[in-house]
């Protein structure tokens, strides 16, 4: 469903991403790994429309989307999380989820001002969806807390829930396990697998936690210094000499 062909991104003299290609099939978890500064997040930013890539193509469901504004890409069903959690800190947990469903709600001012039955119905549905996902990630009891006051792991889960209420087709997670303890990582692990199995979304994952990556990925792409290094199943990657060299240095 997503295909990235020869993606390049140049910042002035720096070629941050050079000829990276990857593809994601429906109902699949694909990971992007690589040492720090390899250009993983830049690839993400290009895919989600935050950057307009300087070369190459990105196809989502057969349509070229490189250079499309970020909010339009998100409305197509490609939603992302961030390396550093980005919640609406002063808004409550439910409100965070309601904002995300904005495009599902009627945006007509008048129907909201006079509270037409149709508007009420939509509002009720979005509340139900929010409650469902809060329950799913175990935050239902904290629904009216300010999002900024949640513990770090809870914020991470809320960010994923906030993506899921938009009913995406493709979820892009940027280091979701960063800063989590082993127990929380395990929970996250199960959550991501369940997103794939139960909610039929494809997932693109950037992660440093190798146990997580190896366990849940269907395929892995390795990037080093902006260039693609290897791609394949976890088993293939584990045995790839180039990858081992890039991570451990040459002996």
């Amino acid at each position: 469903m997503l295909e990235v062909r020869n993606l390049s991104m140049r910042f002035g003299g720096l070629l941050a991403v050079d000829q990276v290609s990857l593809d994601v099939q429906e109902h699949e978890i694909v990971s992007i790994i690589g040492p720090n500064g390899a250009g993983k997040t830049t690839v993400f930013n290009c895919m989600s429309g935050f950057y307009s890539p300087t070369g190459g193509q990105i196809l989502f469901e057969g349509k070229e989307i490189q250079g499309t504004p970020d909010y339009k890409i998100s409305r197509m069903g490609m939603v992302r999380t961030f390396q550093h959690v980005r919640l609406f800190g002063k808004m409550s947990v439910v409100e965070n989820l309601l904002v995300a469903q904005h495009r599902h709600l009627n945006t007509n001012l008048l129907s909201g001002l006079i509270k037409t039955p149709d508007y009420r119905e939509r509002e009720r549905k979005s509340l139900d969806r929010a409650a469902y996902w809060l329950n799913r990630v175990g935050l239902l009891d904290l629904a009216n807390r300010d999002a900024g006051n949640l513990a770090y792991g809870q914020q991470r889960r809320l960010e994923i829930a906030r993506c899921m209420v938009t009913e995406p087709k493709l979820l892009m997670l940027d280091e979701p396990a960063a800063g989590l303890n082993p127990a929380e990582t395990r929970e996250l692990n199960e959550l991501i697998i369940s997103l794939k199995e139960d909610y039929r979304v494809s997932v693109v994952l950037i992660e440093h936690d190798m146990s997580l990556v190896m366990e849940i990925s269907d395929r892995i792409n390795v990037i080093n210094q902006g260039r693609p290094l290897a791609s394949g199943t976890p088993e293939e990657i584990r045995r790839n000499d180039d990858v081992i060299k890039a991570y451990l240095g040459e002996a």
Partner: protein, 423 residues
């Protein structure tokens, strides 16, 4: 620690002396070979020295004083109370609003003519502040030229009535829509800007409108302003002693009562009250709607908002336009109340005062903003006896407010949303 304090205190005291030099209008003149201090009486000189000593003492014992002050809030019995439950608070708020409205309705019949007039002005500021609250408090867009939209509303009415004889009731929506259009047009170029840059551009826009009004003499009459703006009518009834338009009837004739010039003032006050109430209710509704939430989301984190499919352009434009709309509302009422407007009424200080109201009241909090609008408009009137010191007192009050209650009089509270528990 102590030596550091004394150093700092000495420095502050010297600064006080230096600052008081230009402020109190002192001057140095050369008299022969020596220099003489002129422009001040002995009393002023003594007070300046006393002020410097006070500053010195305060800075030296600053820590002790601040600890003592820190214990002050304990005198407030309500300080440590847990916040009220949501339902009770909402009920209280509604009762408060009801009492406020009923009190405001009765006000013109018990108060003097002057205070009703002042109350109308308060209501105009309430409308302005509620409108600016959308832009600054909710959407987080710092707008320093808000008065421009106020001016657009007022001048729309003035010009329409002068050239086309349009009445108040037609001009009211027209003025508001026109101001909204200006907000929309200004919105486009400034959307990419954030924070300080946005503030400067809006500041410029406010000045452009005022200077345009001042210099386009053939249309607006320039600094002479526009007079003879009609009063509002009640179902075609006029409030003047003599009927101006053929076919109209005057209010006192219709009801067979004696002519009284306060009728008009009371009527205008009631119109302002209804409009302020409408403004309050509409914005309160908007805050709970997706639009309102997306304003706040954009204020909190623009990148995250965009990643969730909110268009930055749409959200910012809607905030700007709706804010401008209510400023236009207020402008029309203002034009009608004064009967005469000139660019002088729309200087930057007005923008600053409206912004101060929003900040003092508590960003995003509607009740806070209303309270602050009342306080900021009435306090300078009450402090009239201090004559030239009243702006000084006003300034000092604001500084103290920001030190002790930076979150505003009544900070915004989030509304709890009850969810259906899933099985």
């Amino acid at each position: 620690m102590a030596t550091h304090n004394i150093k700092h205190a000495l420095f502050s005291a010297i600064i006080t002396l230096i600052i008081s030099f230009p402020i109190m209008g002192l001057d140095l003149e050369s008299a022969g070979t020596s220099i003489k201090l002129t422009g001040a009486s002995t009393f002023t000189l003594v007070s300046i020295v006393l002020a410097a000593i006070v500053v010195f003492l305060f800075q030296t014992f600053r820590d002790n004083i601040m600890t003592a002050l820190g214990q002050m809030p304990k005198l407030n019995r309500f300080a440590d109370r847990a916040p009220m439950p949501q339902e009770k608070r909402l009920k209280l708020e509604n009762i408060f609003l009801m009492v406020l409205v009923v009190g405001a309705l009765l006000w013109p019949f018990i108060a003097s003519r002057g205070s009703v007039d002042l109350a109308t002005l308060v209501l105009i500021y309430v409308m302005l502040a509620l409108g600016l609250n959308v832009v600054v408090g909710l959407a987080g867009l710092l707008d320093l030229g808000y008065v421009a939209f106020y001016a657009v509303g007022a001048y729309t009415f003035a010009l329409l009535s002068q050239y086309f004889g349009v009445s108040f009731w037609v001009a009211l929506p027209t003025g508001a829509l026109f101001a909204a259009l200006f907000g929309f047009l200004l919105g486009f170029p400034v959307l990419r800007l954030r924070g300080d840059y946005l503030a400067i551009v809006t500041l410029g826009f406010g000045e452009i409108i005022r200077i345009l009004l001042n210099n386009w003499t053939s249309l607006t009459g320039g600094p002479n302003g526009i007079g003879g703006i009609p009063d509002p009518t009640l179902f075609g009834m006029e409030f003047g002693r003599r009927v101006k338009d053929e076919g109209n009837i005057s209010f006192h004739d219709f009801f067979g009562i004696a002519y009284d010039s306060t009728h008009k003032i009371i009527f205008l006050y009631l119109i302002a009250l209804v409009l302020a109430l409408i403004t309050f209710l509409i914005i309160r509704r908007l805050m709970k709607m997706p639009v309102g939430r997306s304003w706040e989301a954009l204020r909190e984190d623009e990148i995250a908002a965009r990643s969730l499919g909110l268009s930055r352009t749409g959200v910012k434009l809607s905030a700007f336009t709706i804010g401008a709309f209510f400023a236009g509302f207020a402008g029309t009422v203002f034009a009608s109340k004064q009967g005469f407007i000139s660019p002088e009424s729309f200087v930057f200080l007005e923008s600053a005062i409206i912004l101060a109201i929003v900040v003092l009241g508590g960003m995003g909090s509607q009740f806070g903003v209303i309270l602050a609008a009342i306080a900021v408009t009435i306090l300078p009137e009450l402090a009239r006896e201090f004559s030239e010191y009243r702006m000084l007192i006003f300034g000092a009050a604001m500084v103290l407010m920001m030190v002790w209650r930076p979150q505003g009089l009544l900070p915004m509270r989030r509304i709890h949303i009850t969810l259906n528990k899933q099985e």
